[in-house]
């Protein structure tokens, strides 16, 4: 047996071990709860809803829908006078921000209370562009709406623009999912966000 064969076998064994632990143990749920940001809902000047995804036919992703409806509920509860929807288009279709603003309008949010940002492609760009937009409108306190894992990175970016940021988490995925597939998805999302957080730190964005 060559050294290469033995190495491959160890990699394979590690893969099976990781798969079994991720799919059949509560480790992903524990990690999800551990790294989630808790909401802190306060009266603010604006609600900022970060982008997720939209299909070319205008269908919002589950994450986008969860964030939008959370923001509308916060607006209707009187937490802020304006909502900022972010989100570009995916190809030929409408922008995510436009689809969200139409949905919010249908749920009773007046057009004059809605702002949109349709060009930012990354969280960093969203923070820079929306931060500039809000400073021009004399906004200092915001409720930031995104999922509980993404919140740590997003909040740090918005706080750099001298905004006081309060987290309003909106998760499309439950951290309590117990099916093997739900746990694997949780772990995938967690690893993705941790990688992004690491990259932002190494690149000096945070």
């Amino acid at each position: 047996m060559t050294r290469w064969t033995r190495l491959l076998q160890w990699v394979g064994l590690a893969g099976i071990g990781l798969f079994l632990v991720a799919a059949f143990s509560p480790l992903p749920n524990t990690l999800f709860r551990w790294s989630a940001t808790a909401p802190d809902i306060q009266p603010v000047d604006a609600i900022v809803v970060l982008g997720a995804a939209v299909e070319t036919d205008g269908t919002l992703s589950c994450e986008s829908l969860a964030r939008t409806t959370t923001a509308v509920a916060l607006y209707r509860a009187g937490r802020a006078p304006i909502i900022v929807f972010s989100g570009t288009s995916s190809g030929e279709g409408p922008s995510e921000a436009r689809v969200r603003s139409e949905l919010a309008g249908g749920l009773g949010v007046p057009p004059e209370a809605i702002r949109t940002e349709t060009s930012a492609l990354t969280t960093r760009e969203e923070a820079a562009r929306i931060g500039a937009m809000l400073q021009a409108q004399n906004v200092h306190r915001i409720l930031l709406v995104t999922d509980s894992q993404h919140m740590r990175r997003a909040r740090a970016l918005f706080a750099r623009d001298e905004l006081q940021v309060f987290p309003a988490t909106a998760d499309a995925r439950s951290g309590a999912g117990t099916s093997p597939e739900a746990r694997l998805r949780l772990l995938r999302d967690l690893l993705g966000e941790w990688l992004a957080l690491g990259y932002y730190r190494v690149a000096g964005y945070l």
Binding site: Q9, G15, P180, G192
Partner: protein, 126 residues
């Protein structure tokens, strides 16, 4: 409940496969341990392809953003198809290596058999 169902199903089909292997196909239980080794090797190859694809993809996406300004979302790297394609690549590469090893083994057997025939011919000639 889903978890238990999946584990019970896997247990049932594994037991049936063990019975078919030993009773129907006359496979030897002693060969199961080397088979596990081969399975781990194949899986390791698949994971090596997955890691290579993921690392190369991230470097290309981040490098492409800073060098050309072209935006591709890094979320593309978490698409499940990348895992599936990496597994196909790993399986093919593993089978390719195995085909080479099989050919080498066949060649060794053939040369041993030729040498045996030569010796028999020489003895007859004596």
């Amino acid at each position: 409940m889903t978890q238990a169902t999946v584990l019970i199903l896997a247990g049932i089909t594994s037991t049936v496969a063990l019975w078919i292997g030993t009773q129907g196909l006359r496979l030897r239980p002693d060969d199961l341990a080397p088979a596990v080794g081969k399975m781990l090797e194949c899986l390791g190859m698949m994971l090596v392809f997955f890691m290579a694809n993921a690392v190369l993809g991230l470097v290309a996406i981040i490098g492409g953003r800073s060098l050309t300004g072209t935006f591709v979302s890094t979320y593309a790297m978490s698409d499940v198809t990348l895992l599936a394609i990496s597994f196909f690549q790993g399986l093919l590469f593993y089978c390719w290596r195995e085909a080479k090893a099989g050919r080498r083994n066949r060649g060794l057997r053939a040369s041993r058999s030729d040498r045996g025939t030569e010796r028999a011919v020489i003895r007859k000639g004596d």
